[in-house]
């Protein structure tokens, strides 16, 4: 049975040993994003180029943001885009979509409307048949509606 004085003495040291603050949201999201990207690329290097991410840099409303990803590729059996992955930095989770393509696609071009919750980076990664990875990223600014009504109908 430990004395109250001894308990307080020991807990003081335990407290100082764990003095670092818990990770903040920005760090958590960044880590999640990196983990998601690593899951796709493994340890491979992701090169800049070939990919064109078309997304408005200043977004009217984050609930529906038109996005187009196009990748330069002849889309032949030997040389084609296997998949296009889209990620965001500041959403509660980093994935947006994964599109699986092939030589029958003719072109590597996907368009959709995404939800972007906060200003930050949006990253498109193309996975090629030869195992290489290419990317493009855009830093976007998301503004909120001036008057938020929280579901008022």
């Amino acid at each position: 049975m430990i004395s109250r004085r001894a308990f307080l003495f020991l807990s003081f040291f335990a407290g100082t040993a764990r003095a670092q603050l818990p990770a903040n949201i920005a760090e958590i999201r960044k880590a999640q994003l990196q983990a998601a990207i690593n899951k796709v690329v493994g340890g491979a290097q992701v090169r800049q180029g070939k990919v064109k991410l078309d997304i408005p840099p200043l977004i009217d409303n984050g609930n529906a943001v038109p996005v187009t990803v196009e990748v330069e590729s002849p889309m032949t059996q030997a040389d084609h885009v296997k998949a296009i992955h889209l990620f965001t930095e500041r959403n509660p989770q980093p994935y947006v979509f994964t599109a699986h393509l092939g030589p029958r696609s003719g072109k590597a071009r996907i368009a959709t409307r995404a939800r972007i919750g906060d200003s930050g980076e949006v990253i498109a990664i193309a996975q090629m048949a030869d195992g290489s990875f290419w990317q493009d990223s855009v830093r976007v600014i998301v503004t909120l509606s001036a008057c938020l009504e929280e579901g008022l109908i």
Binding site: P56, P66, S145, A146, C147, E149
Partner: protein
């Protein structure tokens, strides 16, 4: 006529300077409105077209493209001596359709679409439009703002990073990105009242119908673009 209303107050937007909310949107959001195949309001229009047949509108009105052409451009209108909104008229044989229900919105959007490109005709009675105009200029709520404070006096400037439009109801019902769906003009007005911290009026409130009549008069001659897309 009572066009003298226009010259009475200096702060009102001169007719040639009027711009639709469309002009204040980004290129990409405009493209969503212009997309007739896969724009966000397309599904609602298809639902509306199906309901036109299913709910019996077709029985009397036949082909909507012919019978409903120009209709939305002249609402709110006097029906049986009472100022009536498009939504109220659309449910005239189906009063069980509730305000802001999926069905009523779809049907109203489908009817409104038949007036696309046509100029707005002000059809409210003078007393209604006058009452609406008084409401528009009336300071109210915890922030002591009038609609005119933003939409007449400060349109084009930014409020919280978002451009303030002139508040012309040229595109209702709209697909509002903020709502992630289609909604009516009354819903939008209720959102404004909440934002202004003013007293919330219910759907069908005569003040809101009068206000809609005034705003359509204020937008007279501007082209209908329903169903529009707005942020």
């Amino acid at each position: 006529m009572w066009l003298a209303l226009g010259s009475a107050v200096a702060a009102e937007i001169p007719l040639p300077e009027r711009k639709s909310g469309y002009e204040f949107m980004s290129r990409e959001t405009k493209a969503m409105q212009d997309d007739e195949v896969t724009g966000p309001a397309v599904l609602t229009l298809l639902d509306g077209e199906a309901l036109w047949g299913k709910l019996g509108c077709q029985g009397c009105h036949k082909d909507a493209a012919a019978s409903m052409k120009g209709v939305a451009a002249r609402y709110p209108a006097m029906v049986g001596g009472k100022l009536t909104t498009l939504e109220q008229q659309v449910r005239h044989r189906n009063p069980e359709l509730r305000y802001e229900s999926r069905e009523l919105l779809a049907l109203t959007a489908f009817v409104a679409k038949q007036s696309r490109g046509m100029p707005i005709e002000a059809s409210g009675s003078k007393p209604n439009v006058e009452a609406g105009r008084a409401f528009f200029h009336q300071r109210q709520g915890q922030l002591n703002l009038a609609c005119a404070s933003c939409h007449d006096d400060n349109w084009g400037k930014k409020l919280g990073g978002t451009p303030i439009p002139q508040a012309h109801p040229t595109g209702y019902p709209i697909y509002r990105l903020e709502w992630q769906g289609v909604g009516s003009f009354t819903r939008r007005l209720r959102n404004c009242l909440t934002g202004m911290r003013a007293e919330l009026l219910p759907h069908g409130a005569p003040e809101l119908v009068d206000l809609e009549a005034y705003l359509m008069w204020r937008a007279r001659g501007m082209k209908m673009e329903a169903p529009a897309v707005r942020p």
